[in-house]
C-alpha cells in the first residue's frame, strides 16, 4: 500500500468519525396537547456519511441532520410536507394527527454526483432502537436559508 493511499484512508476515517453528531442522548417526550410530534432522525451508519442536509417544512428549515442525531419537531395537525435537497430534491407528506408521534427517517442514498437525501416515515418499532443511540441535534434556526428550487 502506498503512503498516499494510507494517508487518504486515514483522512477519510478521521473525517467520517468527526462528522458524527454530539449532544444530549435521546429522551422520549410526549406530543403537546393539540399537536403532533415528529422525530426526525438519521442513523449513525449508512450511505454517504459525509453528506449533511437540512430537513424543511415549506421554506422553514427544521434541522440540519447529521448522522447519529435526532430532533423532535412539534407540528400542527394536518397534511405536512417535509423536504430536503442536495443535487436533487425529495419530499414526503404525512397526514399528522394531534396527539400522535411519527418517525421520519432521514438518510442519504445513491446520487449521480453526490449522495441524495432520502426521507421516509417508518413505524415506531423500526425507529425506536436506532433513536435510542441518537443524540439531540440543535434546531436549524440560524442556519443557512433554505430555498426550495421546484
Amino acid at each position: 500500500m502506498t503512503r498516499a493511499l494510507r494517508a487518504g484512508l486515514l483522512a477519510a476515517a478521521v473525517l467520517a468519525a468527526a462528522c458524527a453528531a454530539s449532544g444530549p442522548p435521546f429522551e422520549p417526550v410526549d406530543p403537546p396537547p393539540g399537536k403532533a410530534l415528529v422525530y426526525i432522525y438519521r442513523p449513525e451508519l449508512g450511505y454517504g456519511p459525509l453528506v449533511r442536509f437540512n430537513v424543511a417544512v415549506k421554506d422553514q428549515p427544521i434541522v440540519y441532520v447529521i448522522r447519529g442525531g435526532y430532533f423532535p419537531y412539534v407540528a400542527a395537525p394536518g397534511e405536512t410536507e417535509f423536504w430536503a435537497g442536495t443535487e436533487g430534491q425529495v419530499a414526503v407528506t404525512e397526514s399528522l394527527r394531534a396527539g400522535h408521534t411519527y418517525y421520519l427517517l432521514a438518510r442519504a442514498s445513491e446520487g449521480y454526483w453526490i449522495p441524495r437525501p432520502r426521507l421516509e416515515f417508518v413505524p415506531r418499532e423500526e425507529a425506536e432502537d436506532v433513536l435510542e443511540g441518537c443524540v439531540l441535534l440543535p434546531p436549524a434556526g440560524e442556519g443557512p436559508k433554505t430555498v426550495r428550487g421546484r
Binding site: 394536518g78 419530499a91 414526503v92 407528506t93 397526514s95 449521480y112
Partner: protein, 159 residues
C-alpha cells in the same frame, strides 16, 4: 463548453426516461356532490370522495361517513439487468364506512398503486409527495365512480 456538452447529453439521455403509471387507471368522474352526509374525517378534503357534501347539523336522516386513507412506499434500485432504472411505488388505500340510520354500516375499500421509474441521471424525479397525491386522488376517483354507479343502480331499481 465541455460541461455544457455533458449537460446537453445528460438532458437528452434523461428525456422521456421517467415513467409514471397508475393502476388501476382512475376513471373520469362527475365531481358534483350527490349525497349529504355527516362527515367524520380528519384528512385533506382534496382526497375525500366528491360524491359527499356536508349535511346540515341536526339532519337526523343524513347518513354518517367515516373516511380514512393511508399510503405506503416501496422501492428498488434496478428494474432489470437491461433496464437500469430506479423505481418507486406508492400504494394508497382508502377505507370508507357509510352508516345510514337504522341500518348496518357498509364498508368499502379502494386501492391504487402509482409507480415511477427513472434513471439516476434524472435529478428531480417525482417525489413521494407527488406520487402519494396522485395515488390518493386515484382512490378518491374510484370511490366516486363506485358510489355514483351504486346510486344510479338504486335509483333505477326504485323506478
Amino acid at each position: 463548453m465541455r460541461i455544457r456538452g455533458l449537460a446537453l447529453l445528460a438532458s437528452v439521455a434523461a428525456c422521456g426516461c421517467v415513467s409514471v403509471e397508475t393502476a388501476p387507471e382512475p376513471p373520469v368522474t362527475d365531481p358534483s356532490p350527490k349525497l349529504h352526509v355527516h362527515l367524520e374525517f380528519e384528512g385533506d378534503r382534496a382526497y375525500l370522495p366528491r360524491f359527499f357534501d356536508e349535511a346540515p347539523e341536526g339532519d337526523a336522516a343524513a347518513p354518517t361517513v367515516h373516511y380514512e386513507y393511508q399510503a405506503s412506499y416501496e422501492d428498488g434500485s434496478r428494474v432489470s439487468f437491461f433496464d437500469r432504472r430506479h423505481w418507486r411505488e406508492v400504494t394508497a388505500q382508502g377505507v370508507l364506512q357509510l352508516e345510514r340510520p337504522r341500518t348496518d354500516p357498509k364498508t368499502m375499500i379502494e386501492q391504487c398503486v402509482v409507480t415511477v421509474k427513472y434513471p439516476l441521471i434524472v435529478f428531480n424525479p417525482p417525489t413521494d409527495s407527488d406520487l402519494r397525491r396522485r395515488a390518493l386522488v386515484c382512490v378518491r376517483d374510484w370511490f366516486d365512480a363506485r358510489l355514483t354507479h351504486a346510486s344510479v343502480k338504486t335509483a333505477g331499481e326504485e323506478k
